[in-house]
Symmetry: C2
Subunit: 398 residues, 2 copies
């Protein structure tokens, strides 16, 4: 029998993978499960995007250019320009979701065995892409106590070795909802310039910045032109996760030429996704205003509700649609499983993502969960009630 | 300035990349260029697939299951069953094109520095995916003299080292059009079983087997159940290259569980592509009969026409829609560029893919080109005339 690669064996599983069979069993037994565990928004996809798909009239669905439709890249450049980001279509390669954009960036900047610094907790799939690319993640700790703010510059310096090639941030953050200030990004600039690193910023939640806070792109930090790479995606912005279209953006032409070689090998990004993405650029401001108001409302209900429960701590996120909550439990993995297997409130329960899967330092975040507020207000209120009652009877309560 | 990775620097470019600016200039100067250089068929996408896209009525384009829609995987299992291949939906993961299927297979079977044996000439992007995965290609020579048949078993034995983890074939072959016999596949079985290797077969051209020849899948070779992995794609089968949907198929459950981890990291394959792919399973037999008849007709015109030209040798391919032709020229790279830059016949010229890019052994195939017969008969006849006249006046004629 042939052997699986070490890469394959060490490839991490999704943090909620172990819970899926329990969720399925819960549903089979007739329980209603509120899914707070994944970032699949219930928001409608803009009609303008769906209409463009319906209107497709070509007779052959051909390959597109490996960098994506030129018209779409021009449209994307305009979208960035309107945000005050000075890029043109040559600085953009359309990718199959933000996932592929990240893979192109890792492969172009880091060799097997090279190191990338990522503030933790971080989006769990960064582990998978790093394993794929043979890259070693060096996590830098952020804590719930200050809402997951950027660590001091000295903490970064401690981690930097000759193998360090890049820092990766998610802004606003999944799973923390943390939004970096301009000063924090300037601190990162100073570090990457001093050590000749790339700064890769996953900005897929850019539009989800609340309470008047402004999102700052690394593409707009002075002096970072040759070091900054943005990972972007249409998935969350237009609530069309299934179209699998994102892009990688950088003003470093050597990086772009390299990423382009990876893009050429896989021929082209999905045609229909690009059609939807290009049309979605026409989405009205009112769509985003409504969506943003809805998320703020949800976040406020969620965070207030959670913090009212004894022993629960949940910092108020400034962006994205996730929150990390610390729970008074022995172990959030066990608790999440118990919620699905052994608990219900009037036939209903919740599924949450244990936060340990978002930390790469072992035994960290074991009493935390990530909650995605992608459900409507009523569902969120029911979910909070369920959590409250569950914590009253959970045998592993602390 | 931060440094690009060695992986990125050594990432190969597409064999026709260098020619693209010359083709653009030729068009700008008013020349008509017949594109024999890429595998973008002019055949219509089945209506049933396009209709399914038009009929999409969900309001949110959600993530699908990471392995693909269950209904689609069930449909794919039935498609394979109808070909006599005994697989079920658990043996199938839907991927973003055959490209991603290959990347999952390489990452699951080979570590950085491991070796894969591939008969050359081979699909040029195998180089790119191998570089991505850190895998080293060990080419095994096949020659135009016997139509690119499988080399003797001894030749494989010479290449096998402790680092050899897999053999990769393309059947029918791009760029050769070669169709492996059952006996050849059994030879490969004996080698992979003896050395505990995976046999990865890119069978995306399965339906394109001509003259009554039968395509044999590695999934159907007795004893290979735990060793064989099939790379598949809807791109060529249904002439819908842009939808970016393929799949990876294996009865080795450990391999499938590993590939699934890579699939989960990138969340899901494209929704619209899957909708088109699932609907396309209903494509009538008459569609394939017509397409096959058309390709046979094109191949016959092409191969007969080429072999009539003095000094040109073109073996008759049994499958796919490519042919390798040996030309009486000093260097096919130079000739291909000259055709675009310095030649026309009544304002028309051709673009061909120099075959050296399909060989990984240096200085091999330098007088060969790959021709994709994806144009209609009239265009092919004009192309042959152009090549004939061009060879009469090309300064580097041999």
């Amino acid at each position: 029998m042939p052997k699986i690669s070490n890469k394959g064996t060490s490839m991490p599983e999704s943090p909620i993978r172990k819970l899926v069979p329990f969720a399925e069993n819960a549903k089979k037994s007739g329980k209603k499960v509120y899914h707070l565990n994944i970032g699949q928004p219930d928001i409608k996809t803009p009609e303008v995007a769906l209409n463009a798909i319906h209107d497709f009239s070509d007779q052959v669905v051909e390959y597109s250019h490996s960098a994506g439709f030129e018209s779409y890249r021009n449209g994307l450049a305009k979208y960035y320009n309107n945000l005050g980001i000075d890029v043109n279509s040559n600085d953009i390669i359309v990718t199959t979701g933000g996932s592929e954009a990240l893979l192109f960036a890792l492969n172009s900047c880091l060799d097997s065995g090279d190191e990338i610094i990522i503030p933790e907790p971080f989006y769990a799939n960064y582990n998978g892409f790093s394993t794929s690319a043979g890259v070693v993640i060096k996590p830098i700790a952020t804590t719930i106590d200050n809402g997951f703010a950027l660590p001091e510059i000295e903490e970064f310096e401690k981690l930097i070795t000759p193998k360090t090639k890049a820092i990766l941030i998610c802004n606003p953050g999944n799973p923390t909802g943390y939004l970096y200030s301009k000063e924090e990004l300037e601190t990162l600039r100073d570090i990457v310039l001093k050590h000749d690193l790339f700064l890769i910023a996953d900005e897929v939640y850019r539009e989800f910045a609340y309470d008047g806070h402004v999102h700052h792109s690394v593409l707009n930090i002075e002096g970072l032109e040759q070091n900054s790479i943005v990972i972007d995606s249409t998935s969350k912005r237009y609530s069309m996760c299934g179209i699998r279209v994102g892009c990688v953006v950088s003003k470093n032409s050597e990086f772009m030429a390299t990423a382009m070689k990876f893009a050429q090998a896989r021929l082209s990004p999905p045609t229909f996704g690009q059609i939807a993405g290009e049309a979605a650029l026409q989405t009205s401001k009112s769509y985003f205003d409504e969506v943003s108001a809805e998320y703020v409302n949800r976040r406020d209900v969620l965070v207030a509700g959670l913090n009212k429960i004894e022993g629960v701590i949940c910092p108020k996120p400034k962006g994205a649609f996730y929150a990390i909550a610390q729970l008074p439990v022995d172990n959030a993995d066990k608790f999440a499983q118990w919620l699905l297997e052994d608990f219900d409130l009037n036939g209903e329960t919740i599924m949450v993502a244990p936060a340990a899967g978002f930390y790469s330092t072992p035994n960290t975040g074991t009493n935390q969960v990530r909650i995605a507020y992608v459900l409507n207000i009523d569902a969120l209120k029911s979910s909070i009630r369920i959590l409250d009652e569950a914590l009253k009877v959970y045998p592993g309560k602390k």
